[in-house]
């Protein structure tokens, strides 16, 4: 079972109103890069306990995909207090993810 909180379209408003940093990974079962990023983010859940780490299925969550202007997975979104701080697409390193989370958490 993933250590990331699974979310879908109907939870968008809740996520936006959550205080603190939220990190959302949008991926799909056929998205190889997403599998690697999932593993990296799961590793961060113990290091950054105050951060809300989420995962959403790209094809099952069209409103989330549109909200974050994501044409294909993977995409990683960093939200804080209703504001999108950063948006990454495609392959990304653990170091880059750590850098962004550390600065925003």
């Amino acid at each position: 079972m993933s250590k990331l909180n699974a979310i879908e379209d109907r939870q968008i408003a809740d996520v936006l109103s959550t205080g603190g940093l939220t990190v959302i990974l949008m991926t799909a079962p056929w998205d190889g890069n997403g599998i690697i990023i999932t593993s990296i983010l799961e590793g961060f859940t113990t290091r950054y306990r105050g951060v809300n780490f989420c995962v959403a299925d790209y094809e099952a969550s069209p409103r989330l995909a549109r909200l974050f202007n994501l044409l294909s997975p993977p995409g990683i979104l960093f939200l804080k207090d209703g504001e999108m701080l950063e948006r990454l697409t495609g392959p990304v390193s653990a170091a880059r993810l750590n850098e962004i989370i550390k600065a925003a958490a």
């Binding site: 936006l16 094809e59 549109r66 909200l67 044409l71 294909s72 999108m84 948006r87």
Partner: protein, 177 residues
């Protein structure tokens, strides 16, 4: 706009004014996603990727003025609604220039409480443009998803010319993005 979350981009260098703007936007729509920029670099880095439903911009910024911001939006985001919120734009000639250059409206900071009303009017006027943009986005998304899924399937298969085929498809995907 088939999502019920409204996307607002704010270009403003003063933290207090930024917060006041956000507060008024939330009176217009409680479910809102913001992206913000405080200078030209942040503005150009974030704007296009965010694809806002509307842009709210101060006129006087440290390294650019509002008209430059407006022209950048018109160049990169077609007809996305654009509102100036400023303490300076009170000269009639400047107002005329601004409207002629394609702003959807302007508001003096001292009248900021009128922002929800102005946003309602501007968004209503832009609904056809926004619907057209949504359809275009859906078309691009469908194409990208089909292509990426196909590529994922091909990677798992073994056949002659696999490397070349995947490279070609990758180029197509990049060109469509």
């Amino acid at each position: 706009m088939d999502t019920d979350i409204f996307k607002v981009f704010i270009l403003e260098d003063q933290p207090l004014d930024m917060e006041l703007n956000k507060r008024q936007v939330r009176k217009y729509r409680p479910d809102v996603l913001f992206a913000v920029a405080r200078n030209k670099v942040e503005f150009e880095e974030k704007l296009v990727n965010f694809q806002p439903d509307i842009v709210l911009s101060d006129y006087n910024l440290p390294d650019m003025n509002g008209l430059e911001a407006l022209l950048y939006v018109r160049e990169h985001l077609d007809s996305t609604p654009f509102i100036f919120i400023t303490g300076v734009l009170n000269d009639e000639e400047k107002v005329a220039d601004t409207i002629l250059n394609g702003a959807s409206g302007y508001l003096l900071k001292e009248n900021l409480r009128k922002l929800p009303e102005l946003m309602t009017s501007v968004v209503d006027q832009s609904s056809q443009v926004m619907q057209r943009r949504e359809r275009e986005w859906e078309r691009r998304k469908t194409n990208q998803t089909l292509l990426r899924k196909t590529m994922a399937g091909l990677r798992a298969a073994e056949f002659d010319g696999k490397g070349d085929a995947l490279e070609s498809l990758q180029q197509v995907a990049d060109n469509l993005a």
